[in-house]
Amino acid sequence: MNASTETPSPNRPRRTRRALLWAALVGLLLVAQTLLVALTLSYESSRAQDEADAVAGEAAAEIKRDLLRTMQALQALMWGEPLLQHWADSATELMRGHRELMRVERRDRQLAVTEAVDTPLGQPLFKQMARSDLQVDTEVACAAALRMAAPTFSRSYFVPLTGGHGHEVVDLCVPVKNAGQDAGYLVGTFALSQLLDAAMSQRQGRQHELSFVEGDGTRLARAGLARGVGVYQAERLVDLPGVSLQLRADSIKGRPSLIPNLATALVLGLSIALFAVVLLLARDVRRRARAESALAEALAFRKAMEDSLITGLRARDLGGRITYVNPAFCAMVGFSVEEMAQEPPPYWPPEHAEFYAERQRNRLLGVGRETSEAREGFESVFVRKNGERFPVMIYEAPLVDGQGRHTGWMSAVLDVSAQHRIEEFSRQQQDRLQATARLATVGEMASLLSHELNQPLAAIASYASGSLNLLDDGDEATPEMLRQALDRIAEQADRAGRIIKSVHHFVRRREQQRETIAADLLIDAVLPLVRLQARKSGTRIEIDIASAAPRAESPPTTRVPRVVCDRTMLEQVLLNLTRNGIQAMETETPLDERVLHIRVRQSHARWVTFIVADAGPGIAPEVAAQLFTPFYTTRSEGMGLGLSLCRTVIEQHGGALDFGPGPHGRGTEFRFTLPAPKTADSGETSVSLNA
């Protein structure tokens, strides 16, 4: 219930904060991914460039080394004036070892070809075109060689072959000296493509394309398994005597593409995000599980609580249909949950159903309902399944769901029939006790009453007997005497009747009621019984009723304090106190001092004090301590209920009963207060005293 009524407002900043956090996380991830991609790209390109540079450098060095080695081998061919046949074999052998060497020629001083050997590993070079047509560059090189007296390379030139193929070649012209005389030239022809193939390792060949290019970018020869894409290129000059060849290494890798890297980055980022989400989810699941177990516990707790309640619970939606009842409510009315679903509810007494429906409509729709009403609840009457009507106390509170919507009313229903029974029983007991106490008082007074009744009865009997005597034995005075006797008989019968009436009036059980009554009337009502007790011991009764708040403009005697009280009960209190006072004076007090004072004073605007004062020996401390203990008595015939009951009665009226020694330390005073009627000015409520 409580959780569902929680308002959403405190959630808003938290949600915003959470969204901000998420956005920041995503932003950071994006930046990181972008940086990662950028770094990856730049790293890849620099690496490809470096690789191309390295390949170019290595290849250039290799080519140069290869050429120089071959050049030395060519020079070695001419050492010692070898025989022609021998030279040709050596040349062939040399070419077998160097694939790039396509042809070796011996020329004389006039550059005419004297001997020529073609490579055994391939087609002869000058098959398509004659050597003579393609020897301009060779001649230039040989001239340079002669001039330099060192081997010199010619410029490269293209030698076409059959089938559209051909080789870009360079010639190496080695001047041959014989005994310090120029003896001719040795010319070796190198195929550039073969040079590249020889210089290039397998690894390099897979990754790069090597080529010789001219200054304008024309490719002379190439090697490599794949073509370069022209993004990462490195060029090196291969400086040879007579000629410089430009070597280019071109990586097959193109510009690093963004997409695969981006995809990688995305996958990575998403993985991270996923991981984070999984973590969060796991945490959430754990929390959820905890919450669920707590909820289950709370539910079990609530269920146990509901089942253990003796208070009936009933929930109704806004249409008045019952949505929930607890077992206590079912037990209370005796209907099952299913039976309770019908309309109108079976626990409404049929005779009140219409009124209840109307009331329910008002209640359920009542928007301006005071919460205090729900707090204080209202009383109603339900009917059990067996038809028994019983009073209930209903407390209602609005039902609010998790979204804060008002969905109905929850009522707590208390069966107050037992309480009512107890209250009624208690009231009856109290009444009975009062009545018993009155009877007990009368019982204690029984001997007194019998004596009192005996007097008139004895007199009546005497007159009756005497009259009979006179009738038997009459004389002239008889009629006069009879008249006298009959008068007396009537008189005494009347007196006996009055006594009986006063006792009956006292004993009769009346409903408790508060009335406003003048103090003198209250005292007058018990005075016959008081005097009856007083007469035996010769006690005088003196009554002193002070005027209430006397004022100058009205004679004080017209005002008598008035009290609000239950007349019967107060009469009993007065009777008890006066009897106690009279009995206290019976033994030790001299006859002329036996005076019982009854004083009434308006002691306060709202209180009237009654004082019953005797001139007896006073109350011993050990007796005083137990004076108000029920059933404590110092008299053999007493029940001991008197004073404790008096105090109860006075306290029920809101007053107080106490006692103490009389004004001169003699006798005992019993004082009690009674509330005065509540009026604007108690002084105005005067009652004329028939003085």
Partner: protein, 215 residues
């Protein structure tokens, strides 16, 4: 029952604090032709007694006494009567209320004539009163007889009184003569004079008379 009119008019004294009861009883007694005198309290009756001259009462009387009264109660008054020389000629009948029976019974044991429980059957009460008056009358007769015997005894000489005492003791004349050291003849003379003065005819009669007068 008739009383000897020679003894005087019988009087019933009523002591009760209740005027009504007193008046009613007086009226009832009057209907039986009995005179009564009422007192409202024990004190009043005691004051009345104090003024009486002995021997009192001179006529048959009885006292109807209420046990419970304010001031001096009936019982206290009765105790005082018992303590002072209480005339046997004034029998006391207690009027008791409910619950006073044991004290009344005790009073009867101490010499009260009777008690009547209230509410009483009136004529029974009057019958009791008459019995009491009868007893009172007898007491008066006895008192008068005793007074007469006393007077006769006063007239006897010393010797005659000695002789009478020995006669009452039942001694024969001879023995009396021996005791008193006089002659038998003289004893006979004294004896005859004693009989004459005491107005008796035999020694037995003389003994009864003396016993009754001393009772």
């Amino acid at each position: 029952m008739a009383l000897d009119p020679a003894l005087g008019i019988p009087v019933v004294y009523l002591v009760d604090d209740e005027d009504v009861v007193r008046d009613a009883l007086a009226w009832l007694l009057r209907s039986r032709r009995l005179l009564s005198e009422g007192f409202g309290s024990a004190e009043a009756f005691e004051a009345f007694l104090a003024e009486r001259r002995e021997p009192w009462p001179g006529s048959p009387s009885c006292l109807l006494l209420d046990v419970r009264m304010p001031g001096t109660s009936g019982l206290v008054l009765f105790e005082r009567l018992v303590e002072r020389p209480w005339p046997a000629t004034l029998p006391v009948i207690f009027l008791t209320g409910h619950g006073d029976v044991p004290t009344a019974v005790a009073a009867v044991k101490r010499g009260a004539f009777d008690f009547v429980e209230k509410p009483f059957s009136n004529n029974t009460l009057v019958d009791r009163v008459e019995l009491a008056l009868q007893a009172s009358a007898e007491a008066i007769v006895r008192r008068r007889a005793a007074a007469a015997v006393g007077q006769a005894l006063a007239e006897l000489t010393e010797r005659e009184r000695e002789v009478m005492q020995l006669v009452i003791d039942g001694r024969p004349n001879k023995s009396i003569a021996d005791v008193l050291a006089i002659s038998v003849r003289t004893v006979e003379v004294h004896r005859a004079r004693v009989f004459e003065k005491m107005n008796v005819k035999s020694a037995v009669e003389l003994a009864n008379l003396l016993r009754e007068s001393n009772a």
